[in-house]
Symmetry: C2
Subunit: 448 residues, 2 copies
């Protein structure tokens, strides 16, 4: 769907000048937000009107999906220039998004060095640290003086984007540690780089999980984290901004899964109806099939329902409340695990706490709800509802806190223990509790 440049009338020239002025009022961030919302022809037009530096900056802020769309509307020369100016890791992400044929064509137009870098990054596992590291860094030798190191930085032919943290290596590219540019600048010029190496050393390997690397950056407040290969040789740096992006994507994934949907992996508005449906269909089906458990339970107790029809009236209220208190517990535990506050060895402590929380909440609902129901539907029904609320809340809070811990233990993403899944599981067991309590309270009037 390539858009072509139309011949331009004199009136249109004025319009373009006005548009150019208008564009100057927006910041890069604003443009990166607004442009993808226009149709492709309008995007491409505005893009070509921007000064080149700004155009490149805006392009880099685009999501890879939007980058790929926009590229169709730009001239090949400009695309090549964009691709060359991009950081290697961003370029790899964009190639990943493109149809293989298009990616190959553009890759062949890159300089040999850029092509090699990109190919190398694309060789790492998509979820690995290798994929998000930048191979553009300046490394120092431990034996250099601070002054020599600064001279080296000052006279770089191509300056990498990130210079705040500089890895230090020995003669065999083995990583020894990092120094900060601030330390280099503040140090006495004769100080050896070796003396300036940060006392605490963190590094990850190319196949470390991205999320793990990003959390380390966040927890240790690392401006950049060196990445090494299997021989401990430096191959790249992960910078804090890439870590933020990874954590945002992980949170988006957790949030989507918390409601039984898979993450879109692309901006919402660029996903079509069928893609959205596909991301949700599997879980919705799984949940509906699990929910047929409730059909089995209710079917089993159909005589109870026929004998005392009023019991049917509370089904949704009770299962809903059980599902809600279970979801509250599971979401709390899933998040605490995601940010590293709890782990499986805390399982006993957590489930015991949560059961008590559920008991407190159940007691509260029973005290509020029991008398109201009793007043309207009779005291026996009120008693049934009060006791059921108490037991259901305790039980579902226990289940809701236990499931994510178990998932973690067996190596499943705890976020997959979604609120809907907990609700569905608590529904069937909640009904069992309900009818058991009813049978005790009402006796033969119900069961007979």
């Amino acid at each position: 769907m390539a858009t072509t440049v139309q011949p331009i009338s004199p009136a249109a020239v004025d319009e373009l000048a006005a548009l150019r002025l208008e564009l100057a009022d927006f910041s890069t961030v604003e443009l990166a937000e607004e442009l993808p919302r226009m149709d492709l022809a309008d995007q491409a037009l505005r893009f070509r009107l921007l000064p080149k530096d700004r155009a490149l900056a805006v392009f880099e802020e685009f999501d890879p999906v939007h980058q790929q769309e926009l590229i169709d509307g730009l001239k090949t020369d400009f695309v090549r220039e964009i691709l060359e100016s991009m950081e290697a890791d961003d370029r790899a992400k964009l190639f990943d998004e493109m149809p293989a044929k298009v990616a190959t064509r553009f890759q062949s137009q890159l300089s040999a060095a850029d092509r090699r870098q990109t190919a190398q990054l694309l060789g790492y596992d998509p979820e690995s640290a290798g994929r998000i590291m930048t191979p553009d860094y300046v490394s120092l030798r431990a034996s250099m003086s601070a002054a020599a190191a600064i001279e080296r930085i000052r006279h770089l032919r191509e300056r990498p984007r990130h210079l705040d943290v500089l890895p230090v290596t020995d003669g065999h590219r083995k990583l020894l540690g990092t120094v900060t540019l601030a330390d280099l600048v503040s140090a006495d010029p004769d100080t050896e780089v070796a003396e300036l190496i940060a006392s605490e050393h963190y590094q990850v390997s190319t196949d470390t999980d991205q999320e793990e690397a990003a959390r380390l950056i966040q927890e240790a407040n690392l401006n950049a984290l060196p990445v090494v290969d299997h021989e401990d040789r430096l191959v790249g740096l992960i910078t804090w901004d890439d870590a933020m992006e990874v954590l945002e994507a992980e949170d988006t994934e957790d949030v989507a899964r918390s409601a039984g949907a898979e993450p879109l992996d692309r901006p919402y508005l660029s996903a079509g109806v069928f893609m959205l449906a596909r991301k949700r269909a599997v879980w919705l089906l799984v949940l509906a099939v699990s929910a047929s458990l409730t059909v089995t339970v209710l079917n089993y107790y159909e005589t109870y329902l026929a004998n005392v029809t009023v019991l049917a009236v509370f089904i949704s209220l009770l299962t809903g409340t059980g599902g809600n208190s279970g979801s509250q517990a599971s979401v709390t535990i899933i998040r605490a695990m995601a940010v590293g506050e709890v782990r499986f060895s805390d399982a006993f402590r957590i489930t015991w706490r949560e059961s008590r929380v559920g008991f407190v909440l159940g007691a509260l609902l029973a005290i509020v709800g029991g008398p109201v129901v009793g007043f309207v539907y009779g005291w026996d029904i009120g008693l049934i509802i009060a006791v059921t609320l108490l037991v259901i809340c305790t039980w579902s809070t226990f289940v809701g806190s236990l499931l994510p811990l178990l998932a973690k233990k067996v190596g499943i993403d705890p976020a997959l223990v979604s609120a809907p899944m907990v609700s569905t599981l608590c529904d069937a067991t909640g009904l069992l509790i309900y009818f058991s309590v009813a049978a005790v309270v009402l006796g033969p009037a119900l069961t007979g």
Copy 2:
């Protein structure tokens, strides 16, 4: 609950030496994770065994809640030293966590400059940019040369933590822009700082919302963001690591609310049973009261249920499925809003898309579920279930996508439109749909 230092036996001295060695094996991040899990006496003991620099680094990584607990177990002198070494914004957070009396006592022990800084930060609104900015920064004059600027940094009496981004001001402390240390170092020594100012300028005011400032840092990849007062005078910097913390806390809040719970604002394990219950009780009650709508609906249709008891069997399955598809939609939209992908003006486009997504999902479930139910319970019941699934899914996906948009419009946090809330609302309307469909299919056999 102050712990006191016990007199130490010779055997214990060996043990302490062993413990000290053991501690040396852990990184700062690991210690900051492990120590708060021990009881206070053990924490304080290990803390005192750490070299002072490391102890300070570990302490800073603690959550304010844990910092406050630990302080009780440490000697006053050491506490004073810790407080002095902390960044002003972290110190403000800690004082916030302390009982007012304790905070006042410690504040009085600070140096006049530190005390003034902290008091100033504590004067800003807790959710504001002013609260998380650091007042420790080095600002440059636009007329300086790069060489003079570097000399200035080299000869600072006290070096601030953050030096990668340096704000530039005029003679009246008015912010002109920022330069990066990397640019200063790479530039020709005679270049004026004014020429190195980043072309794109971002700043926020002390009363800007924290989340907004943090998102700006993330979106514009700013290493640090200058904060100005109402006269545009520079007062502080927000650094990327503080932005990451804010975004993590915001995500935790959104996640908690997505399941109808309020965020704990403290690490999970340090919250007691009653605190956990309190954070969930209000929503659970509100939802239970809303769920009484389902009681009203079911009560209204009690004659239907008495006439055709088998209808009761599907109540949980149908309301559950409606709730699930509604939650999937609401969570997707809430997240897309949180990360800035969609806004209220997209409302029509979104709800129209989502209704179609719901229709597709509903059709899928109807095709799978209808025949199965028909085979077991009779074809009229199968038809009722199939049609109801189709309508319920379409409707609840529409509602689930509309509610967060409406919440945003009227100024409520969209995350408060929790999955449980959507489920509860869809439950009652879903039952109305169910019985209406049943009435059409079964006619007088049901209603008579």
